[in-house]
């Protein structure tokens, strides 16, 4: 037995310790110190507010009654943190960006800052959480009674003065929560102190449960194996398959939804979160915590069933086992652990709910009738917020007590918790739609929540009062107006299901259907549209992207007065000083829409999005933007964007066209210049023979006395010059055709040696005239090249006659050789060299010898010179045979440096 003094003393000392911790943490946070406070570890520990006295005491009871079912309660959150951390990250990101204060604020903010939605969710949350708070009260009062009772039959439930005890506990908890949660004057800031205290409590309850577990397993059971061996004897099924079923799945889903939707979880995960990255640690550490805290659940249940007398309350095994074996210290520690679990839940839940009530119910009412709420002067709003939160906490705990009182005797802890879980799970469709479905509308969310809530209330909440009133009992048995298909636990003929599965199935199904259907047939208003984008695309937005909802402005003074009312004078002055210092607006008495938008977020952080929106609407003179206008604005912006993109594109196109034109122009100019030069050269080439022809014909015409020989010579000259003129014109046309890449012939396999022989033969007159010896040197005998016989002869003849015309050596010769060349990546070629012992071509000229109309210094004896087009034509011909014509340095060993022309032709394979 433990004395009451000791129990109460320890409890009070523990609470004082918590206060001290909270106080220190708050002070450190204000001074910017408490690094630990903002660590992922504290965040993770605070998350374990999920583990309430239901976990601490009730899980063992659940294990004793339903075997492994309790495990599903931990599986859901684990799945969410491990498998859906990105979704949680999105929640947190939005929460930070939009200064979200609660889950009601979140949903309402997403759906156009709807007040109605915020109020609905607040009411649902309060109703949904009431059983849960009752559960904590029940746990604390029962555990108190157990630990204080001297009777050896302590484990037996006695409901005598339990109600009174529970009321006392509720009152103490209300006081406790008020002191904790509403100490801060600045109601909008995060509760560092509370979070620190919760994290501390998480450690206490964990160690306490582990301590009891270790004692039970190793002190009483003789190890895990021996403990589990007793399972069969006490009727606990450890077979997973017998536990696995619709109910198990339902509980997993419910607990997964609860870790997101429970107001207190949302408070810790989103509102109190200091850094999005803490989620990284939490995503593995929190599941680990859950695993640790659940590891002894089953052994304690087994040992309790096997060692304690028949009929002992399994929900209290954690306490009664140490007590039964006279481990009073351990029992006290376990009690403090359970106390921790309950208080942490009550504190956070009541804070979260009170924020919702004050922001979404009290403030909107106060804004409508400021006189009643004393909002007309100065600091009213801050005081109102704190007062309403304190009153709310009291009311919430009183509701919890009321529920406990009405349902007293309905037994176990776990089912009560599950009713709450099913209640808050109704938020899930709306939250998922808020995160991922842009077209979900406010009416859709309202409809879904209302329908889901109604189904839950009818199928889950109402039946839990079954023992309180015969009316409800009748309803459960026969349905309203004797309509059996409307029985709360067998709706529409769905008879065989477990009540929980039945309730969750109908409520979530109806909820989702209503949300989807109504969203399809309704539209969001302007703000809704914009908020939808802010939520769904939160990761696509830059840090600064912010919508200005008002296109109008407001006098700075009015805004300042209003902000002072909500945030307090100091805070408000700070904001406005930063603003007026920041930019050029100094002289301007009106605030910019941008500032109004950021101010709205600041206010939303204190009183919620919907209230902040309404509040600003009173001061901001302009009207709210309609959906059409927003769409029009968006359209215009889009059009302007597209237009400027088109302009940019056009400008670029223009630039590139200009560049192309310039290039083309330069090319044309170059070509024009080349054409001029060519024409001038052609003109010169034509005028020269023409001069001779004209001159000689005039001589012949005017000088009748010329003798026959003279006449003949002159006429011959005229004839030759005419021929020269003709061949010049032919060559010009030929070159023109070659340069235009006209297909003048087809290449075919020919014998190059035959072409060389023919060319030498054709050139005999001119080579003999210049007494030049043409030698055939080393050459490939049996070979074929891809070429045209006549055309290649034209090239060879040109080269041979050039050599003859320009070779002034005493014993002029020309040597023709051939060999096969192999180049990597290229087809094999036949290389034919024409090497002479003439004057050679100076390096100055080597680059221009292939130019049109270039001629070397002629041998004076040459009667007739060429057109100057021969090499240009030859080069073009070889190009079109995929060969080449190049000037080479004469090979070493030649007695005299002459010229060497290299002809390359592709081999016929």
């Amino acid at each position: 037995m433990i004395s009451g003094t000791l129990v109460f003393g320890t409890s009070i000392a523990y609470i004082i310790l918590l206060f001290f911790l909270a106080y220190i943490s708050d002070r450190n946070a204000r001074l910017g110190k408490g690094k630990l406070l903002r660590s992922p570890l504290v965040f993770t520990l605070a998350l374990s507010v999920y583990c309430t006295s239901w976990t601490f005491y009730g899980a063992v009871g659940s294990a004793a009654r339903n075997g492994l079912e309790f495990f599903a309660i931990y599986l859901g959150p684990t799945l969410v943190f491990v498998g859906w951390w990105f979704g949680l990250r999105k929640l947190i990101r939005i929460g930070h960006k939009q200064r979200i204060t609660s889950i009601a604020d979140f949903v309402s903010s997403r759906f156009g800052k709807s007040e109605r939605l915020a109020i609905l969710i607040t009411i649902m949350a309060v109703v949904g959480i009431t059983p849960y708070i009752a559960l904590q009260l029940k746990a604390i009062s029962t555990s108190l009674r157990v630990i204080l009772t001297e009777s050896p039959n302590a484990a037996l439930p006695q409901s005598g003065d339990e109600v009174g005890l529970a009321f006392g506990v509720a009152a103490a908890m209300a006081l406790f929560s008020v002191m904790f949660g509403t100490r801060n004057i600045n109601a909008n800031e995060q509760h560092h102190g509370v979070v620190a205290a919760i994290a501390f409590e998480a450690i206490i309850k964990f160690i306490a449960l582990i301590a009891v577990g270790l004692f039970v397993v190793f002190g009483l059971g003789g190890g895990f194996e021996a403990t589990y061996a007793r399972a069969q004897g006490v009727g606990v099924s450890l077979d997973a398959s017998s536990n696995f079923g619709p109910r198990w799945i339902t509980i997993t889903i419910l607990s997964a939804a609860a870790i997101i939707c429970l107001p207190r979880q949302f408070q810790i995960t989103v509102v109190e979160n200091a850094n999005e990255n803490h989620l990284r640690t939490a995503s593995w550490a929190f599941p680990l915590y859950l695993f640790g805290i659940s590891i002894f659940t089953m052994p304690i249940a087994i040992m309790g069933l096997s060692l304690l007398p028949e009929g002992a309350d399994p929900d209290m095994f954690v306490l009664t086992l140490p007590l039964a074996y006279d481990q009073q210290g351990l029992a006290l520690f376990a009690f403090i652990g359970g106390f921790s679990s309950a208080t942490s839940m009550i504190i956070i839940a009541s804070i979260a709910l009170s924020i919702m009530i004050s922001n979404h119910i009290v403030v909107p009412l106060a804004l409508r009738s400021p006189k009643v709420f004393g909002l007309e002067h100065g600091q009213g709003m801050t005081r109102l917020l704190l007062t309403s939160r304190r009153v709310s906490i009291g009311a919430i705990l009183f509701l919890g007590f009321l529920y406990f009182w009405l349902t007293s005797g309905s037994g176990a802890l776990a089912p009560i918790g599950l009713i709450s879980f099913a209640g808050v799970a109704q938020f899930l469709p709306a939250i998922l739609a808020a995160l991922y479905w842009r077209d979900a509308t406010v009416n859709g969310a309202l409809a879904g929540l209302l329908v889901g809530f109604a189904f839950w209330a009818y199928t889950s909440f109402l039946p839990s009062f079954g023992t309180a009133s015969p009316v409800i009992t009748n309803l459960l048995l026969y349905g309203p107006w004797q309509l059996e298909f409307l029985r709360p636990q067998a709706l529409f003929g769905l008879e065989q299901l477990d009540p929980l599965v039945h309730s969750v199935f109908w409520s979530l199904l109806a909820n989702s259907m209503a949300l989807i259907f109504v969203s399809f047939v309704t539209r969001n208003n302007a703000v809704g549209q914009l908020q939808a984008a802010q939520f769904v695309d939160v990761f696509k937005q830059t840090e600064n992207s912010q919508y200005s909802f008002t296109r109008s402005s407001a006098p700075l003074n009015d805004l300042l007065v209003m902000t002072q009312r909500v945030l307090g004078t100091d805070h408000a002055n700070r904001i406005f000083e930063t603003y007026s210092n920041s930019d050029r607006i100094k002289q301007n008495k009106d605030a910019s829409p941008h500032f109004i938008a950021s101010l709205e977020k600041e206010l939303a952080g204190s009183i919620g999005a919907a209230s902040a929106h309404v509040l600003l609407g009173q001061v901001v003179s302009g009207d709210t933007v309609t959906l059409e206008e927003v769409m029009q604005m968006a359209d215009e912006t889009q059009q302007i964007l597209e237009y400027s993109q088109r302009l940019e594109q056009t400008a670029e196109e223009l630039q590139s066209t200009t560049r192309q034109l310039q290039t083309a122009n330069n090319q044309l100019r170059q070509l024009d210049q080349q054409k001029d030069e060519f024409l001038s050269q052609v003109s010169h080439e034509v005028r020269t023979p023409m001069t001779a022809i004209r001159s000689f014909s005039e001589i012949l015409l005017t000088n009748q006395e010329l003798n026959g020989t003279q006449k003949e010579t002159f006429i011959n000259t005229i004839h030759e010059e005419s021929m020269r003129l003709t061949s010049l014109l032919d060559e010009i046309l030929d070159l023109n055709a070659l340069e235009r890449n006209e297909q003048l012939w087809t290449n075919e396999p020919i014998n190059p040696n035959l072409a060389i022989a023919r060319s030498i033969q054709v050139c005999t007159p001119i080579t003999e005239q210049h007494q030049m010896d043409v030698r055939l040197g080393e050459h490939i005998r049996h070979v074929k090249v891809e070429a045209n016989f006549d055309r290649i002869c034209q090239v060879f003849i040109n080269l041979i006659s050039n050599a003859a015309k320009y070779n002034d050596a005493d014993q002029p010769f020309l040597e023709i050789t051939s060999e096969i060349t192999k180049a990597p990546g290229k087809p094999d070629q036949l290389l034919i060299r024409f090497t002479d012992n003439g004057p050679g071509i100076s390096s100055i000229h080597s680059s221009i010898i292939f130019d049109k109309f270039w001629r070397g210094a002629r041998n004076p004896d040459t009667a007739q010179s060429g057109s100057g087009l021969g090499l240009a034509i030859s080069k073009e011909i070889l190009n079109q045979m995929n060969g080449s014509l190049e000037l080479e340095l004469p090979r070493i060993g030649n007695t005299k440096a002459g010229a060497c022309f290299a002809v390359r032709l592709p081999l016929h394979m």
Partner: protein
């Protein structure tokens, strides 16, 4: 002072056919002629032969007509030698350049024989008058 037996006209032309015809018509008109076929030979010959006038083609091997003109105008003996330019290019630009370099006359190919004879006669006449004035 011109040497006895100096030609009246030094013809500088590289096209054999044109050279032959020029020789024929100018001799036929009664002048003594001497011919060279490139620019460098022309510069040497003009110093030695000191002809009355020079008939100069522009497109020449070794040194072109403009270069020849420039050089002989820079030498005292040939500073005032009348030079008749023959050109097949016939462009205004060439005419201008020739004038600036001190050409005395300009005939475009193909020409009428009489154009050349008249032009030569004109230039030789001025020389004769200058001679008379001595």
């Amino acid at each position: 002072m011109r040497a006895i037996g100096s030609p009246d006209i030094l013809i500088v032309e590289d096209e054999p056919a044109i050279l032959t015809s020029l020789e024929f018509i100018l001799q036929h008109a009664g002048w003594k002629t001497q011919t060279v076929t490139d620019g460098e030979a022309a510069i040497r010959a003009v110093q030695v032969l000191l002809p009355k006038i020079m008939v100069l083609d522009l497109m020449l091997p070794k040194k072109n007509g403009f270069e020849v003109l420039k050089i002989i105008r820079g030498q005292s003996a040939t500073k005032n030698l009348p030079v008749l330019i023959l050109t097949a290019k016939g462009q205004q630009q060439d005419k201008q350049t020739a004038k600036e370099l001190g050409a005395s006359g300009f005939v475009t190919k193909p020409y009428a024989n009489t154009d050349v004879i008249d032009a030569v006669a004109d230039l030789i006449g001025t020389v004769s008058k200058a001679d008379l004035s001595l």
